[in-house]
Point group: C3
Chain length 346, copies 3
Amino acid sequence: MPKERIEEEGISPKEKVGRLIENLGPISNTIQYSWFIEMAQKLLDFNGDTIDSSNWESFYDDAEQKMSADNWTETVFSKSRLESVFLTNDFDDPLEGFDSTKYIPCLRTDDLVFHLSDARTKMRLYEATNIEVSDVKSAREAIGKLFDHFTRRNAKACAISLPPTFAPTKVSDARADTALANIFAHGPSADEDDQRAVSNFIFWTLAENCQSYKLPFDLMIGVNRKVFPAGVYQGQDLYDSRVSLIQYKDLLNAFPDVTFPISVLASVTNQELVSYSWIFPNVIGYYSDMYKMEFALPKFAMYKRILAKVLAENFVIDRNWSEESAIELGTQLLRGNVETIFSVGK
Amino acid sequence: MPKERIEEEGISPKEKVGRLIENLGPISNTIQYSWFIEMAQKLLDFNGDTIDSSNWESFYDDAEQKMSADNWTETVFSKSRLESVFLTNDFDDPLEGFDSTKYIPCLRTDDLVFHLSDARTKMRLYEATNIEVSDVKSAREAIGKLFDHFTRRNAKACAISLPPTFAPTKVSDARADTALANIFAHGPSADEDDQRAVSNFIFWTLAENCQSYKLPFDLMIGVNRKVFPAGVYQGQDLYDSRVSLIQYKDLLNAFPDVTFPISVLASVTNQELVSYSWIFPNVIGYYSDMYKMEFALPKFAMYKRILAKVLAENFVIDRNWSEESAIELGTQLLRGNVETIFSVGK
Amino acid sequence: MPKERIEEEGISPKEKVGRLIENLGPISNTIQYSWFIEMAQKLLDFNGDTIDSSNWESFYDDAEQKMSADNWTETVFSKSRLESVFLTNDFDDPLEGFDSTKYIPCLRTDDLVFHLSDARTKMRLYEATNIEVSDVKSAREAIGKLFDHFTRRNAKACAISLPPTFAPTKVSDARADTALANIFAHGPSADEDDQRAVSNFIFWTLAENCQSYKLPFDLMIGVNRKVFPAGVYQGQDLYDSRVSLIQYKDLLNAFPDVTFPISVLASVTNQELVSYSWIFPNVIGYYSDMYKMEFALPKFAMYKRILAKVLAENFVIDRNWSEESAIELGTQLLRGNVETIFSVGK
């Protein structure tokens, strides 16, 4: 189904859902469809294994009613046994109007690192910090202000997604000054070398602030944005499995006190992630993310089923662990590590 | 065993088989050996689990007799439950003398894309189309003629195998004209840039014709040819697992109406293939191929056993699917998709 | 725990072990910890499943006593059912004072290939061969002398570990002469092109000697050295999974008579290793290594458990092999291949 049908302006939510359901056949064998059914069953009391053209409408009406209730969020939190969720907030988010111990802010920094040459980003940064960024000094001040604002509002991490070609390196202040001047003068059409120098400078400055403010720096490594521009919102990105954590060698050595929770997109990078977290004490392998609060229940249920299978087969059966020890390890992975790494929940 | 012993000129088929059998020990643990035994059992009524120096000769004589029968092909089709097979035909194949609904032609285009600088290829193209290719215009005409000829003879796909470094891109007509002139002037020793421009131009033109003629374009991505030149025929090629489908981003976006059944050589590219076919509606993951008609039975039997295991474990057990639904999905993969994608068999 | 605590000068072995044990919690779920426990149980009669702060001291005292016994090595050999072990010896090792049929020498060549520009390496080569290396001729002589010395002392292989970017190629004598002159003139700061030419020349010369002396050439492909310089000894290296055996195409074709036992670091390269050893008769997939003699027992026990599972599931169950045939294949992998490839043990 073409994007135009799904994202057509002016259609009602019900019309949109109807169109989607009619075309869901080809993906009914996917894990995502199974999440959808599990959400329907567990959160919305749906009885059955399939939602299709024969029954979606009554399910829709029932769901709409339940999800309109004032306490819907509480219901989701309670049924999913969630205590709090980690957000990723734009750097200019005022972080107001919500309980930041329940919705924990994180500073999302993609725009700062990769789109500072865009006049809109520079303006947003000015509006958020009251600092006109033009050189190394003002950039450092502005970024410091963001960390100050975020940590005051209980932020627990700085986060970024990175293209597979990115290999962070420290650039000198002199080089960064030149590069900043050039990208502000020429915008997105500035020389690629200058754009890369700015990305490196800003990224390194973020890591320095993570060190000062004792924040973990979440890295999602390997994303290619807008590979399929004709795709729907959040359905355009892909990846390149030719990436190595060796690209992060300098960074990991330069900031031994910063914890880097790292997630990788391609499963073929998993062994590297395990090896790097075995050698580098500041590297943590990490599983992300959800677009909607309602995803938590099925996505973690899936994760827990896989974890249970691994613990049963590779620890209890293969290595003679007691079931108690295996469950303890699972609990540490699911809960203990989060508490320690992000200083939350206890 | 050296190639010279296997491909020695003048030896009889029986002598060749004898030499092979005497040296089959080291590969008796491979899946290919198990195919050989399964072919012997199912197609040639062999009783036993091993063919070696003690029993090969009587098996050979028996096989020779059975395979000499006029209706041997019918026997293989019937025992293997084959209705038709997809060929890959040289672009100058007259496609005559066979039933093209049973042996379905496909236009194999490696030579056109990668060896047009070879005088022999140019000559073959002239003989096949009566067009002397010298520039963009004549190249387009000649390729159009090939598609016309192939589709009239029931061709159901255009196909090509691609080296891991290939990253198709559209080149301008002017650039292509220069490049064509240079490769025809200098042959295989022409400048690499010109050779690459020609490859890109021809490849893109093939895709354009796939669009016009509504043919899928089969891509086998990642082959390195003649890595071991001392190997026997079809035993010289290998691959480089450092390849990414991101190399095909421009192509996949430029031809949304062309279906691209893609197969990859390295299992580490499988996750990318799944992800790209999840995002791009025109990408299909696809499993190829067989050198001899007799391979179909054991190779598909292996595929079906693996598929059955996946359906049982990951769908029926893990996701509570009914056995009927799992079998339906398997049938769609094995048969339904082929019918839809290649417009055959129904 | 920082390196300084573990490698602090002057602390007693018992103090070091105490510090390690107190910090072993975070790795108690690793396979390495399970090896440690298995060694304790099988080699040192430890009763129990955990060694921690509550019981390490008495275990340490008991182990120290057992390991001080004159016949400790015999005990390890006998309990581990080892007949002999393959060493990797520095090129200037005199290879004296041990039974070289029990401790089989191998010529380790990393320093020669990658650090010949280091004055210390050149001096060691002079001391080992009495040849002052300055050009192609003297380098060939010196390397020939090393092979002569090693093979006289029962060496069974030449061995090297290689960074992921290495792609061996033959260089002309003239080029090698220039490059050798330059690296001896400028040392480790010599031009990178010259360093690479020397590495290629030495590496190729080693392969030539392997051919003359009929020695296998063990290649461990993909190691990045000192990625985490703050790590403990043997805890600093990592790898880059972006490597392909296609880089070794020229080498494998140039030396059809040399056996290349190849091990790769990243599991994602395993399929390539299998494919290359399927096509190239001189490529052998190979599993390495142990830092201490005591590692043999648990590491091979792990290997044998995995092998047993594969044989049971993929051969006996999936392919209807008899258990006897499966055990025969396992025995060939574990023992027969070693005997054939390295001409030992029979």
